[in-house]
Symmetry: C2
Subunit: 239 residues, 2 copies
């Protein structure tokens, strides 16, 4: 989802300080901690699994580079994608609360994550992690609700437009271009996320392209007319 496959992401801590998500901020502070505490990182290849449904949750993860998807499998049914995560965002929150991951997370490209272990070894006074996580959990819940609206309302074109607007904003917030990026997920992932079949995803992308709102070349995507996209997505703005 970065502008180019092997591009290095912008300096994260700088970005995170500006962002309003508390955990990344806190993480940045942790890494500068006087005790010199450095969070363990994990490097993953495309397709590698960060955690699997049912795994014991050992912590949460902050994406440092790359992108992941998280999904659940409703009783041996087909996969349901519930979210995509780009650099600077947090993965694995549901696990924190109940101690066991309710879903899985898979790298969509070569990815690096920082691990926030569950048993906190840091100074809680300097960095009230519990509170931050509670806030993040609440946000995750909001996100899930917005996702529900996105996946159930409007036409296929509108859902796609809504998704792209959301993604665009997130890319922008993380220091990438908001109008030109690569969709790291397959059409099937997109379809699952938006409750559409892959053929419909294809056709809707073409439709938006025919409306001169996008330029699509496989997974490479350029937003030509952001305002037009917004008008194509009337109800339920994601942010």
């Amino acid at each position: 989802m970065t502008a180019a496959p092997a591009e290095t992401p912008p300096a994260l801590c700088a970005t995170w300080d500006a962002a309003d998500t508390c955990l990344p901020c806190g993480l940045a502070r942790l890494e500068r901690h006087p005790a010199g505490l450095l969070l363990p990182h994990r490097r993953m290849r495309r397709g590698e699994v960060l955690f699997r449904q049912g795994d014991a949750a050992t912590g949460v993860y902050v994406v440092r580079a790359g992108a992941l998807k998280s999904s659940i499998c409703a009783s041996d049914g087909p996969e349901q994608v519930v979210g995509f995560h780009v650099a600077g965002e947090v993965v694995g929150l549901q696990g924190w609360a109940c101690g066991r991951h309710e879903g899985s997370a898979v790298a969509l490209e070569d990815t690096e994550v920082a691990v926030l272990p569950r048993a906190g070894a840091w100074d809680d006074a300097a960095f009230p992690l519990e509170k931050a996580l509670q806030r993040l959990l609440g946000r995750e819940l909001e996100r899930a609700h917005r996702h529900l609206v996105l996946a159930t309302r409007g036409t296929a074109d509108q859902r796609l437009a809504g998704f792209l607007l959301d993604l665009s904003q997130r890319m922008l917030a993380r220091g990438y271009s908001g109008t030109e990026f690569v969709l790291r997920m397959t059409r099937a992932d997109l379809g699952s996320y938006l409750a559409l079949q892959i053929e419909t995803v294809s056709r809707s992308l073409r439709s938006l392209q025919d409306q001169r709102l996008l330029e699509v070349d496989g997974r490479r995507l350029r937003i030509r007319d952001l305002e037009g996209l917004r008008q194509a997505f009337p109800a339920a703005a994601l942010h």
Copy 2:
């Protein structure tokens, strides 16, 4: 959603002690607290609003009797119902995390809730509320994910079947009949929850009735063939 409109619910604490939801258990213990602390209760009439989107979140609520729905309004769009709550369940969790309610909650019938104030005045050692709430938040997230699956997969009949199976199980878990109860919500609420139009809800109820799986009389509902319902809802069992 109780068996009859004005019926008194079963003794709650007994039920809650058996249930695995930690907060109700904790609440029961709180009410028996040596200090004699009694949680404030609030009695509501049908249609009354417990909290509104944007309100400061002063706490979470445990349903003691009656039923509520919670919903969000995506930027002045139409209402999106995100959950129904019967006696013994918890309402208002998203608010806890971020301090402000992301959605609204409305009583579907005359209802009484116990209020768990945000600023805890109780003994945290005896009752680690924070931890319990974190767990509940995690569960709420899981619930949201299952809801997404329910509202986006399968035919109208299957969604209805899935919803009724879920509700049946919850009623049973709370000490009510699992096969005979009253749907407290309107068809419009049901439609919003399941991403269907009210006409489709009506027709699907009739369809399930014609299949001898249900008996529907307005909002009164009797499940005739639980096993048949389960088969009518193949993928994505809710629990």
